[in-house]
């Protein structure tokens, strides 16, 4: 059975949790820019964490299914409707055959991740269903969706819900993910950082500016990275560095002193100094940054960053177990 894309919106692509194992060939991780959001949405509809879903940029997406499917979504402040019913973020609902799902443009944030029970059945390329939009491979024909596309869906497990036995949720399920996981959009985002390997290469003024100034996201931003505009972050000495591994969350500083915050599609290696790294639990916030948004950075210790990550993973395991009690 298929999903019929009536209107593909501004930029919608098939993504899973990314491509692991090909960095040595120069292939980026890719995948959902907010992997946690996709994982939560997948859990809500009874999918595995890594099932293929949709990354919706700026909304304006309309689609329907050829059979009944559960959907759930997480991300920015979008409004999602199934026929005439509103579907809040972080909740699962049944979409009956031929019902139209509409996602409007967001009030805040820029991206949302939508899971469909069963998952999207695109070929696995280099171990992943993610679309590499620059490399033009993976996902649906290696490209963003277009109006009229037909996406094949995998067979779902036949769900029943404990409270509504014949799967007909007329409205969204009463249970769902916590609000902090479901809706991620901040007018004045604060991203927590740990020091990067090149922290000492920067002047003390630059180190101070990084954590005291506001930076503005520029229009020259995409899935590779968000370019920021703020006070010039100067190095103690100039000179070229050897390229080395970078990762989503790396905050690198090119010679003009304006930070680039790397996101999921970032290159595998880079030669610009790495002043800091956004911590993993704040990557969801980073994935919502949109041109014109303001962002600030707050330094935490590595121990704190890892404790926060461990706590989130523990919470996610509990959440998954909780969902399993509802979906049978």
């Amino acid at each position: 059975m298929n999903a019929l894309i009536r209107s593909a919106g501004f930029l919608t692509s098939v993504q899973d949790l990314g491509r692991i194992g090909y960095r040595q060939a120069g292939v980026s991780l890719g995948g959902a820019l907010d992997a946690h959001a996709l994982r939560v949405a997948n859990a809500l509809v009874g999918n595995e964490d890594n099932a293929g879903g949709l990354e919706v940029t700026l909304g304006k997406l309309r689609f329907s299914f050829e059979d009944d499917r559960l959907i759930a979504w997480c991300g920015g402040e979008f409004s999602v409707r199934i026929a005439d019913e509103n579907l809040p973020a972080g909740h699962a609902a049944l979409v009956a055959k031929d019902d139209e799902v509409t996602i409007t443009a967001p009030n805040a944030g820029g991206r949302a991740w939508l899971a469909i029970s069963g998952g999207i059945d695109v070929p696995i390329v280099l171990g992943s269903r993610s679309t590499d939009l620059r490399g033009n491979f993976g996902g649906h024909e290696g490209r963003a969706l277009r109006d009229g596309d037909v996406l094949s869906l995998l067979e779902e497990g036949r769900f029943e819900t404990a409270d509504q036995p014949n799967r007909r949720f007329q409205t969204a399920a009463s249970w769902g993910a916590s609000a902090t996981w479901a809706t991620i959009a901040h007018e004045n985002a604060v991203l927590r950082i740990v020091r990067g390997t090149d922290w000492e290469r920067f002047t003390s003024e630059a180190q101070r500016s990084l954590v005291t100034s506001a930076f503005t996201v520029t229009t020259d931003s995409d899935r590779m990275g968000a370019r920021l505009d703020g006070p010039e972050l100067k190095r103690v000495e100039s000179g070229d560095l050897l390229s080395e591994a970078v990762a989503p969350g790396t905050l690198q500083i090119p010679p003009n002193g304006q930070p680039i915050l790397l996101l999921g599609d970032c290159q595998t290696i880079g030669g610009y100094p790495k002043i800091a790294h956004v911590i993993t639990v704040d990557l969801p916030t980073a994935a919502q940054l949109w041109p014109g948004d303001t962002v600030r950075f707050h330094e935490v210790s590595l121990a704190e960053a890892q404790a926060l990550l461990r706590e989130r993973e523990k919470d996610f395991a509990l959440f998954r177990a909780g969902v399993a009690l509802h979906l049978r």
């Binding site: 070229d240 290696i269 890892q306």
Partner: protein
């Protein structure tokens, strides 16, 4: 050797302090193989480049860095991995057409190096190179071993579009663009080889450590090869 955090979900192993395309690259590749063989729990992938290895971790498992540091240290001490050396690295021959149609920056390189285009081509195709790392875009090989007199700084403003297969000089390195992309290196030729193909296993033609030679071909050979 030093191990530094690369954010909260990766580590950077500095295997050697400075880069050369022989001993230090061998040391990094050997360390990378040792880490691969060690299958350290929580490590999902490695990214060697020049003097370092990026060690990426499964953030869902979030293994403590202290444990990983010990695991990495132990893996690098053991002698299980055979040493990589020039003797074992395969040599890949890359046919290149240097004709002017494919070499928009050859004159610029000639101006900078004060060598004739013909002499640049001769020296570029006479040398043996080594892949220091693969990155920037999927399958892009950074090649060490460019004759120093051919070194030419990157263009002041990068080109918006460079065709797939473009062979170029960027500073003291030479490289090949696997696919149409923007780029700032000076283009001196083009190869009909496909450097990256997702339907191939492995998808990238080059791996770090491989040796590369350029073989000059004519425009006719290029067309025949490209078919």
């Amino acid at each position: 050797m030093r191990i530094e955090p690369l954010g909260d979900s990766a580590l950077l192993v500095r295997v050697v302090e400075s880069f050369d395309a022989e001993e230090s690259l061998d040391a990094v590749l050997r360390a990378s193989r040792q880490l691969e063989l060690a299958k350290i729990p929580g490590v999902i992938e490695l990214a060697p480049a020049y003097t370092t290895i990026g060690v990426f971790l499964d953030s869902a498992r979030c293994p403590p860095f202290d444990e990983l540091r010990t695991g990495i240290g132990r893996a690098l001490e053991c002698d299980s991995a055979p040493a990589a050396s020039h003797a074992t690295a395969p040599t890949i021959e890359v046919p290149v057409c240097y004709e002017s149609e494919f070499a928009p920056d050859l004159d610029e390189v000639a101006r900078h190096t004060e060598l004739s285009p013909e002499e640049i081509i001769r020296r570029h195709s006479a040398e043996s190179y080594r892949v220091s790392c693969v990155g920037f875009t999927p399958g892009f090989p950074y090649l060490s071993g460019l004759p120093p007199e051919l070194a030419t700084p990157r263009r002041a403003s990068p080109r918006k579009e460079i065709p797939a297969g473009a062979v170029a000089i960027g500073g003291t390195q030479t490289g090949i663009y696997p696919r149409r992309s923007p780029g700032g290196w000076n283009i001196i030729g083009r190869t009909p080889l496909r450097l990256f193909d997702v339907d191939r296993n492995p998808p990238a033609l080059f791996r770090a450590g491989d040796r590369v030679r350029f073989r000059r071909i004519s425009r006719l050979d290029f067309d025949a090869f490209a078919k």
